[in-house]
C-alpha cells in the first residue's frame, strides 16, 4: 500500500516534467509573444521587454531556468500580462474559489447521483425509476451554459433568493448556484451509471444468496450490493474530480466567481506563457492526485485489487 503510493508519486515526477516540456514547446511553437498587440512596439522597447522577462535567451535556457525556478524556489515566475503579479499569486487567488465550488459539486454529484441511482434500481420499472430516468436524461443533454442562466433567471431575478454572481469570500449563498449548475449533468451521469451497475449487482448470484439467507432488503442493498455496485461509479469519479476542481470557464463567466477556469483561458488567449504553464502544471498535479485517490478507493472497494 505505502509502496504503491510511493511508486505512484515517483512516476508522477517524470510525468510532470514531460508535461512541462510539452506545454512549453507548444507555447513556443505558436507564433507571436505576450507583447505582440495591436500596436507595434519599437524594436528597442520590445528587446528591452524581452530581456526583462528573459525571453532573449535561447529556448532551452528558458526552459531550464523555468524548471529550476520551480524546483529550487517553487517560483512559477511573473505573469507576462499583469505587471506586478506572479503566477503563484494568480493561482492562490483563483484556485481556492474553484476548489471550494468544485469539491461541493463533487460531493453533491456523487452523493445525490448514487442515491438516485440506487433508488431507481431498487424500484426498477416503477414511477420512481421512470421519473429519475426522464430527469437524468434531461439533465445530461442540457449544457451548463443553458442551466446557469436559467438558474439565475429563476432564483435571482424571479424569486430573488440568491445572488446571481460574485464570490463574496465564498459565502454559502454565492456558492449554491455555481454548485447546482455544475452538478446538474454530473448528478445525472453518476445516477445513470449507478442505476445500471446496481441492477447488474442485484441480479447477481451472490445477492440471491443473501436473500436466501433471509437478510432484509435494505441491508442487502447497503451491505451486499452497494460496494460492488460502486466500482463503475468510482471509475467515473476520477475524471469528474479533475473536471470539477480544475474549474469551469462557463461557471466563472456566468457567476463572476473569479475561479481559476477564467484565468486559464485568458492566459492562453493573452499568450501569458508563465500563467498558462503554471495552471497547466497545477491541472497535471491534480489529475495525478485524483487518479491516485481513485485507485486507492478502488482497492478499498474491491478486495481483488491488491496494491
Amino acid at each position: 500500500m505505502i509502496r504503491f503510493i510511493l511508486r505512484r508519486l515517483a512516476i508522477a515526477i517524470p510525468t510532470l516534467l514531460a508535461l512541462i516540456v510539452v506545454s512549453f514547446i507548444l507555447m513556443k511553437v505558436a507564433p507571436g509573444n505576450p507583447f505582440t498587440g495591436e500596436k507595434t512596439l519599437p524594436k528597442e522597447v520590445m528587446a528591452n521587454i524581452m530581456a526583462r522577462y528573459g525571453l532573449d535567451k535561447p529556448e532551452w535556457q528558458q526552459l531550464l531556468d523555468y524548471i529550476s525556478n520551480i524546483v529550487l524556489h517553487f517560483d512559477f515566475g511573473p505573469s507576462f500580462k499583469y505587471k506586478d503579479r506572479s503566477v503563484t499569486e494568480i493561482i492562490a487567488q483563483g484556485f481556492p474559489v474553484t476548489f471550494t465550488y468544485g469539491m461541493w459539486t463533487f460531493v453533491v454529484s456523487t452523493v445525490l447521483g448514487v442515491f438516485v441511482g440506487v433508488l431507481a434500481a431498487v424500484r426498477q420499472n416503477s414511477w420512481v425509476d421512470y421519473l429519475s430516468l426522464g430527469i437524468t436524461i434531461g439533465a445530461q443533454v442540457v449544457p451548463v451554459y443553458v442551466v446557469a442562466p436559467l438558474l439565475v433567471l429563476i432564483f435571482t431575478l424571479w424569486l430573488g433568493w440568491l445572488p446571481g454572481g460574485g464570490w463574496n469570500g465564498g459565502h454559502w449563498s454565492n456558492v449554491i448556484l455555481p454548485v447546482v449548475a455544475l452538478s446538474f449533468s454530473l448528478v445525472a451521469s453518476v445516477a445513470r451509471i449507478m442505476r445500471s451497475s446496481m441492477l447488474e449487482v442485484l441480479g447477481s448470484n451472490y445477492i440471491r444468496t443473501a436473500r436466501a439467507k433471509g437478510i432484509p432488503g435494505y441491508k442487502i442493498i447497503l451491505r451486499h450490493a452497494l460496494r460492488p455496485a460502486l466500482l463503475p461509479v468510482v471509475t467515473y469519479l476520477a475524471p469528474m474530480l479533475v473536471y470539477v476542481i480544475t474549474g469551469s470557464v462557463i461557471i466563472d463567466m456566468y457567476f463572476s466567481t473569479g475561479g481559476i477556469g477564467s484565468a486559464f483561458v485568458n492566459s492562453a488567449l493573452n499568450r501569458d506563457y508563465s500563467t498558462a504553464m503554471g495552471i497547466t502544471i497545477l491541472y497535471g498535479t491534480l489529475t495525478i492526485a485524483g487518479n491516485l485517490l481513485v485507485d486507492l478507493i478502488y482497492a478499498w472497494i474491491d478486495p481483488k485489487i491488491r496494491l
Binding site: 433471509g214 437478510i215 481483488k304
Partner: protein, 328 residues
Amino acid sequence: MTEILTVEDLRVRFTVHGGSFEAVRGLNFALNAGETLAVVGESGSGKSQAFMAMMGLVARNGSASGTVMFGGRDLLSLTPSQLNEVRGREIAMIFQDPMTSLNPAMKIGAQMAEVLTEHQGTDRRAAWKAAVEMLDRVGIPEAVSRANSYPHELSGGMRQRVMIGMALMCQPKVLIADEPTTALDVTVQAQMLELFKTLCRETGTSLVLITHDLGVVAGIADRMMVMYAGEAVETGAVDDLFYDPRHPYLKGLIQSTPSPDERKSYLTPIAGMPPNLTRLPPGCPFAPRCAWKMPICETTAPVLLPFGAGRARACHFDGPLVSVESAS
C-alpha cells in the same frame, strides 16, 4: 416419519415477451424430517424453480401459487419480513455456482457470521467465532485465518464448503441444495456429497438435493422425485426407482447413464427434446418421446397416482417397463 414440508399444487408462472408459461405445473410432494430427497430432471424441468418459489426467490417476471406448508405456515403467503425469518434460519439454500454465489467484496467469515447476527441476534464477535468453528467443520484448513479471506482467494471446492457451512449456521430444518456439485470437478464432488451426508445427519437436517446427475442421487439420497416439464412424474425410494423404474422418462434417464457394472458399447439416449412449455401437447407431455405411447397418452394427461410401497407415478402404462429395445 413426520412431514416437515408439504407442497400442494405448486405452480410457478413466468410472463415473458408476448405471453406466459408455467415452469412448474401443479407440484405435490412432502418432505420427511431427516431424509434426503433427490429431485431429478433435466434443464427446464422446473426442479430449481419449484424450490426457488418456496424461498421467495423467483425472478421478477415470475409468480408462484399453491401452498407450501412449513411449520404450520404457508410460505407462499408470508410477508417479506416473515419469510426472512424462515430463510436462512429454518430453510437454507445452496446454489450451483460457488464461484459467483459468494459476495466478492465481503470476507467469508463476515458472510457466515451475518446469518447468526441476523437471525439469532448473536453479537459480532461470537458470530465470527461460530463462523470459524463452522469453517473447521466443513473441512477448511486453518479456519481462523481463512475466515479473513475473500472468496476469490479460495478454490471452487473450498467456496462450496463455505456455502454449505453458511447454510448450516443456524442448523436449519431443511437444506435445499440446487446442483451443489455441478460446477465442481469429480473428485471434489464426492467429498462434497460425503460432507452433506455427515453434516445433515449430525444436525438432523432434511436435505433436498436438486440434480440432473443420477450418480449423485444413488450415492446420497433416500427418496427421489423425478420431474418432467414442470411436474413430478415418479416418486419413491431411490432403490425402487433405480431397479424398477415405472415411468418411461426415468427408464430412459437410467438407460442413458453410463454404468461401470455393465459393459455397454453405446448409451441409449431418450429420443427427441423436452417439450416447449409454452406449447405443451394436450396429453402426456412425455408422449412424443415415449416408447410405450398408447392412444390415450396423446389425449389425456396422466396424474401422479400412488402404487406399491410409498411410490407414485404419472403414467397410463401399468406394470414393469421392459427395456426400450424390446418394446419398440
